[in-house]
Amino acid sequence: MNWDWEVVEEFLPRFWDGVLVTCQALLGGTLIAFTLGLVWALAQRSNLVWVRWPVNAVTEFIRNTPLLVQLFFLFYVVPEWGPSMSPLATGVIGLGIHYSTYTAEVYRAGIDGVPRGQWEAATALNLSTAVTWRSVILPQAIRRVVPALGNYVVAMLKDSPMIAIIGALDMLGEARFFSAETFQYVEPITLVGIAFIVIAYPASLLIRALERRLATY
């Protein structure tokens, strides 16, 4: 096996394009997954059956169907009767929605983990439901689930190459196209593999820093 630095150099411009797409997918996907997951988790605790039930059905459905199918659906089916979006935007939304159904479960566990006495104290102080959630329950719930949320960021990073299937070329997508054209596989694929670690590791460090920052009590 020969390592050819010239191949690396030739691949680099497209590699950087791919890194940018991967990072955008990861950041955008995380943002959507974290916020939408919280929305799901709160909706699942709603007193209203007609909120709870559909949300449960939808999240259950999304969690139990492949991300690939969802990406295809978003890219090819939704535009039939809705907005059509760029491959990258579609990919970001697809990843975000898919992972939001997992983060919803994480939030749920965190919310369930807040002792009942906290709810009772909030009632005794006559706090409104909204204030109880915002000031008392969610700060405690989220703090204890940050590590679990972090795991899903890394999982999402590892799933991000799937968005290449709808034409949003991430690092791996770029590498595959490059290799298909030049028949040079070793360098691009290796480079991409290393890049995944280089992105994943700081991401997990970032999550850990966030965890420490939240651990003020």
């Binding site: 006495g117 906290q118 009632t123 005794a124 102080l125 006559n126 706090l127 204030v131 000031s135 009590y217």
Partner: protein, 300 residues
Amino acid sequence: MSTPDNNPADTPSKTPSKTPSNTPGNAPDAARTAVGTATGDTPWATGEEIIRFQDVTKRYGRQVVLDDLCFSVYAGKHVTLIGPSGSGKTTILRLLMTLIKADEGSIRVEGDYLTHEERNGKLVPAGERHIREVRKKIGMVFQQFNLFPNMTVMRNLTEAPVRVLGLSRDEAEQRARELLEMVDLTEMSAKYPSQLSGGQQQRVAIARALAMRPRILLLDEVTSALDPELVAGVLDLLRDIAHHTDITMLTVTHEMNFARDISDCVMMFDHGKILEAATPEKLFNDPEHTRTREFLNAVL
């Protein structure tokens, strides 16, 4: 469900104005409810009736925790509930705090129904707004403190006054500093609850309840979770509050000396009923029931 007394003269009013039910003039009638199980003099049954339980029943599954209970508490009085565990004492506090709902009967606070409101002359389950309005008058201190661990002591004391009472942050902090001084924890305001001892946490919890300026303070075994050497500090504070404020106190405790010190009335509970209610002198020295005597012998 037993229908609460629906006499128009007795209807709950939005404002805690003097309805006939809570004027001193009507006290003898109301006192009868309390005296039904009372023995000896009833010096605690005078003045404004602030809490009234009427035919209250609470069940958990098939177990009857409170059995058709009637009693009244008068403004500024200190009533202590004693009795074996499972006799329903804590349930009374939890009902008053609206943490649980009664299965039957009605509870009134300053004449207003706690969890019912009147619509078209009928009593219906109250909406959130009504419940919150009545609940404003009541504060509670818990066995497990239940301070908010994600907030500093200062924020624990100011969150509800700011969000619920609408005080400005400055006003709320001013009030909090006074309370911290009273509970002798001035230097702890920037600390988090986890950095405090159990006794300190409980004192903060008492201050937090008082910050809402309730008329009624519910104390649910507030020293049971404390290390023995920390109990005295909390009890001294509560004695102080009992003797220097006009707040109505309902206390569930196993500290009989404390009960003797602060109570106007001690109620002995057994199997969801008030076995007897009397002044501490009478109840501790000369109880009517052998069951009470057995209980006191076991705990004293």
